[in-house]
Every structure is written in structure tokens, then in C-alpha cells.
Amino acid sequence: MNLLNTFLVLLQSATSQGVLWALLAIGVYLTFRILDIADLTAEGSFPLGAGIAAISITNGYSPIIASLFGFCGGLLAGLVSGLLHTKLKIPALLAGIITMTGLYSITNRVMGAPNIALLGQKTVFTIFQDMGFVKNNAVIIAGFLFAAIVILLLFLFFRTEIGLALRATGDNLAMSEANGINTDNMKIIGYMISNGCIALSGALLAQNNGFADLNSGIGTIVIGLASIIIAEVLFANKSLLIRLITVVIGAIIYRFILAVVFEFNVEANDIKLASAIVLVICLSLPQLRTKLGLQKIGPKPKGGQS
């Protein structure tokens, strides 16, 4: 059946790409929601991770090590943004933009060229492809493995003292300081882990796409934010662990929406407008549902109130 076939093909493609973009969305979630900071470093740390991984792979390192190098690059990028924001008191938005701008040159130096092709190189996915899986399925399996490990580690981290202190910093800065938490350090740690995840996402996507490009960071913050908001709109009021899992689903859904937009054979000029309109429709779903009387809006009432 043509409809079912199209659906399954699009879903498979969306899942394979979405699960990799999910790592970026999780990274953005860390700063955007947990720390309550608007961090634009993502557009710089994403190509940095891609570039570091690509140059490592072409120099013979194993792809998993290369991806971890990319992760470390993101940690450093986050450190810079964190220091700019906390020590030099530069507003968060500007700190992110400054780091993103500087990273453009640094990534260019690391890569040695604006574009590195990875065609024919070993990637983290070739391990599964050698087992006989089709490329997309290998990516889905490897991607979910990476996502699961990252989410598990984050979940455990956020239950430690430092992790809880980080969450407190994001929820109520003044109260956290009053309780003796070093909020500057918490923010720096948050910046670092967030950009580490984003860079890891860049490293994996470069291996999936077959190339690392200096300009691949453009527009990635939108992808991250859209994935988070889709997740929050569809699955409201969830605990942290479930929330992280729903962010993965949100990233997959976003990719699926874009794939559907392309299926409509929109004029090449109008693709971005079409994507924006479809996104608006999706994000206004809660309003639509309220109007149709299907769901009440607002948080669940607390235990003490009636």
C-alpha cells in the first residue's frame, strides 16, 4: 500500500536522523530549561564536534574515540562560554554568540579546510553495518545506544549532589546562593555538559552525512528548540528522565514533519516558509485542543490545594 509504504520510509529516515539530532536537543535542553539560560554556543560547538571527529577519523583514530574527542571539544567550548558569562559577567546571549563566532575560526583551523569528506571511512555505524544491517537501521540502533547511554548518565548525574545543585541553580538562583551553592560553577558545569552533548551530536551526524562542514551549525539551535517544544507540547509535565526521553521523540517528530513537508513537492523557494507554517500548526496544537474541549491547559493542581 503506497500510503503505508511512504509512512514507513519517512518514519525510518526521520528516526535515524532524529535520534542523532536528539543529542543536540538534549544539550540545548540542559541550558535552556534546566539552567534557564539562552545559550547560542550550539551553532559553534556543533561544527566543532563534527570537525574534530572528521579530522580524527581521517587521521586513523577509531570512530568511537573520534566521537569522544568531539565531545571533549564541546566541553571546552562550553567552558569558554561559561567563563565569559560567569566571570566576565557578559550576558548569556552575548556570551554564546561570542563563543560561536570565535569557534568558526577555531573549527576552520582544526579541520584545515571548510569541508572534510568522510566517504568510505569507518564510522561508528559501520560496526553495525558489518553485522548486516541496512545503513538507516544501523544508524537507528547506534543512535539509540548513544542516546540511551547519554540519558542514563545524565539521569544519574542529576541525582548526585552536584546535579541537584545544578537543577537548583536553574530553578531559583537567589535561593541556591543563599544555601551556599556555588552557582557560577554550576552554570559552568551545565554549559560544559550541554555543549559536550551538542558536539557529540555534530560528530555523529558528520559520520552519518558523510562529511563535516564548517557551515553545518547554521540553524541548529532552531532544531534543538523545536524538538524540545514539540516534546513539551505533546507530553506535558513529566519527570526529568521521562522528559529527556520525550525530547528524543520530539527530535524524531520534527524530522518527520520536515520530511512530510518535502513530500508535498513544495517549490524549492518556499521550503523554509512551508516548514515554518507546519511548525506553527504543530506548536499551536495545545490551543487547538483547548478550543475543541479535548484537554484542559495549565499545570496539574498541587497536592495541598483543592
Binding site: L3, A113, A117, L214, N215, A259, E263, N265, Q295
Partner: protein, 325 residues
């Protein structure tokens, strides 16, 4: 409540997919062997790249493949969002094409990553070997071949030096984020140094930075060379303005740049490169050639083009600018 939510989501999803399938149906090939399908993936909307695509269709038409009669084009443009390249490549492959065209390096690499069977023609890629698209320019070795927009750098530098024979320092400017430009700029720098000149290089990231970079460079140098760079080509008008103010001769890589603002070029015209690409593609579609053994072509038609208005503004007699040996 949960049931209603699932039912609503289900209905929405199904209706969206129904619409999508309808849209997709009109694009399917009729299974007619006479109708060839060509999938095209372009990185960004841009004068030179658009001209290359137009030329490609013309070249195919001249070789007997007319749009609508025996060939259909599935054209996708990533609008400079590289994250869309993969989804678009997959979509093109779903249409079961007989041939794929990749315009610009990231688009070409994205297509190459998706298939090793369907023949892929690339254009507006400067060095296929460097981009790992081909094993060598003479024997590409895989399912990929095409036309390189490599311009004769030495001859263009010779042209520039013939316009400013007393020059001591020459400037080179390009967008460091474009793979093609870096290759050409490095060659230009080497050629200039060999000719015994000082070289000053500046780069711009976006069209917004072009004016500043040009002004900054123009005051320190006697002449400027700009390779076939997408960013500087888009902003050629402002480059021309600054050149007029500072009286700096600028030699550019492609004809489009000269028409919009540079002084002169001995270079390629992307439209005729496109026509050349189309004819190459026709040979593959006819079955007369295999990509693996078809050498990568460089532009056949190189022309000396001078912007007379710019020449007069700079106080140079246009007739005195001649093609280099």
C-alpha cells in the same frame, strides 16, 4: 481523555500522510522507459549555481533530452540549510532516478553518500579528488563524474599583473567557509608569490562582512584577486563600489562576478559550464559512457570579459586589457 488524544493524533497523522501520498503520486514516473528521471540537488539559491542548472537543462535539450517529452527533473534546493541535504537526497532517490545532479560540494557529497549505483554528475565542485568524490580526474572509478569549475588561476593572475605591472602587493579575498574558494585562493597565493609579489589575504564569513573586508584590503594593495566564491559573487555589487572609490583593479574568477562589479576575468561562465555538464549527462543517459571511466571535465569555454564601465571609472582603457598567453 487519553483515548481522545490518541484518536485525534491518529486522524491528524493519517490525513497528513494521505495528503503527502497524493502529492508524491504526481511525481512518480509512469514506468515508461522513454521518460528519464533526473534528480537535482542544489545547495543554495545563487546566481552562478542557478545559471549552472539552467545551462544543464539546455545542454541536455541540445543533446536530445527535452523537459516534459523524454526527461523530467526533480529539483531540490537545500536553501543553505545543510541539515536538509540528507532528507532531500533520500527523497530524490525514492523517485528512482536514472541520473542525479549535485550542484556544489556539500550537495554532491550528500548524494554520493546515499548511493553507489545511480550515476551522479556533479558541477560547481572545484576538486572532485579532494572532496573524495573521485579517485582521480581521469578515471573517477565510481558512479560519480562531472565538471569542475576550476579556473586557470595562473592565467587570471597573469591578467591581473598585466593590468597593474608596477604592483608590489596584491590582495586575495574569499570566504574561508567555502571549500572551492580555499583551493583557488591557495593556488592564487602560490602563483603570486612565485611572481615575486607580496600577498595579503583577508576573508569574510557572510555577505554582510564583504564591504568592510574589501575596504580594509583595498587600501593596502595595488590590485585584488577574488576566486569563484559564492559569497563574494553575491556581493559583487558592493565590491565594485568599493573598487571604484579606492581605484583598485579587481580580477575575479567568473564572468558573473565581472558583470556585477569586478573589472575583468579570463574565466568561466557558469551557464556554459552547465551546458557542458548537460551534454556529459546526456552521454551517460544514452548509455554511451560510464561515470567510472568518464574523465572529469573542466570548462571548455574560457573568455576574457571586461567590465567597460568599471574600466573607465578606474581610468583604464578597456581595449588595453588583453587575454593572457
Amino acid at each position: 481523555m487519553n483515548m481522545k488524544r490518541w484518536i485525534t493524533s491518529g486522524i491528524l497523522a493519517a490525513s497528513v500522510l494521505a495528503l503527502a501520498a497524493c502529492g508524491d503520486g504526481s511525481n512518480e514516473s509512469s514506468g515508461d522507459d522513454n521518460m528519464k528521471t533526473v534528480g537535482v540537488l542544489q545547495l543554495v539559491e545563487h546566481g552562478s549555481l542557478d545559471a549552472a542548472y539552467e545551462g544543464f537543462k539546455e545542454g541536455l535539450a541540445e543533446a536530445g533530452y527535452t523537459e516534459g517529452e523524454n526527461v523530467t527533473f526533480d529539483y531540490q534546493n537545500a536553501q543553505n540549510s545543510q541539515d536538509n541535504l540528507k532528507s532531500m537526497s533520500e527523497k530524490l532517490l525514492k523517485g528512482d532516478p536514472d541520473l542525479l545532479l549535485g550542484i556544489a560540494t556539500p550537495a554532491a557529497v550528500s548524494l554520493a553518500n546515499e548511493t553507489t549505483d545511480v550515476p551522479i554528475i556533479v558541477t560547481a565542485v572545484t576538486d572532485l579528488v579532494e572532496a573524495k568524490l573521485a579517485d582521480s580526474n581521469d578515471v573517477p572509478g565510481r558512479n560519480i563524474t562531472g565538471t569542475s569549475d576550476m579556473v586557470p588561476i595562473e592565467q587570471q593572475i597573469a591578467l591581473l599583473l598585466s593590468i597593474v605591472p608596477d604592483a608590489k602587493t596584491i590582495g586575495v579575498m574569499y570566504n574561508a567557509g567555502e571549500a572551492n574558494s580555499k583551493i583557488q585562493a591557495d593556488l592564487a597565493e602560490a602563483a603570486l608569490k612565485e611572481a615575486g609579489l607580496e600577498v595579503k589575504v583577508l576573508t569574510a564569513n557572510t555577505t554582510n562582512d564583504v564591504q568592510q573586508v574589501t575596504t580594509s584590503l583595498a587600501k593596502d594593495v595595488d590590485g585584488i584577486y577574488v576566486p569563484t566564491d559564492n559569497t563574494f559573487a553575491s556581493a559583487a555589487a558592493i565590491v565594485g563600489e568599493v573598487a571604484k572609490e579606492t581605484k583598485t583593479p579587481i580580477v575575479a574568477g567568473s564572468v558573473d562576478q565581472v558583470n556585477d562589479g569586478a573589472l575583468a576575468t579570463y574565466g568561466i561562465d557558469y551557464k556554459s559550464l552547465g551546458i557542458q555538464t548537460g551534454k556529459l549527462a546526456a552521454k551517460i543517459l544514452d548509455g554511451d559512457a560510464e561515470p567510472a571511466t568518464t574523465p572529469v571535465e573542466t570548462a571548455e569555454n574560457l573568455e576574457l570579459v571586461v567590465n567597460d564601465e568599471m574600466a573607465e571609472a578606474l581610468g583604464i582603457d578597456p581595449a588595453s586589457i588583453v587575454a593572457p598567453e
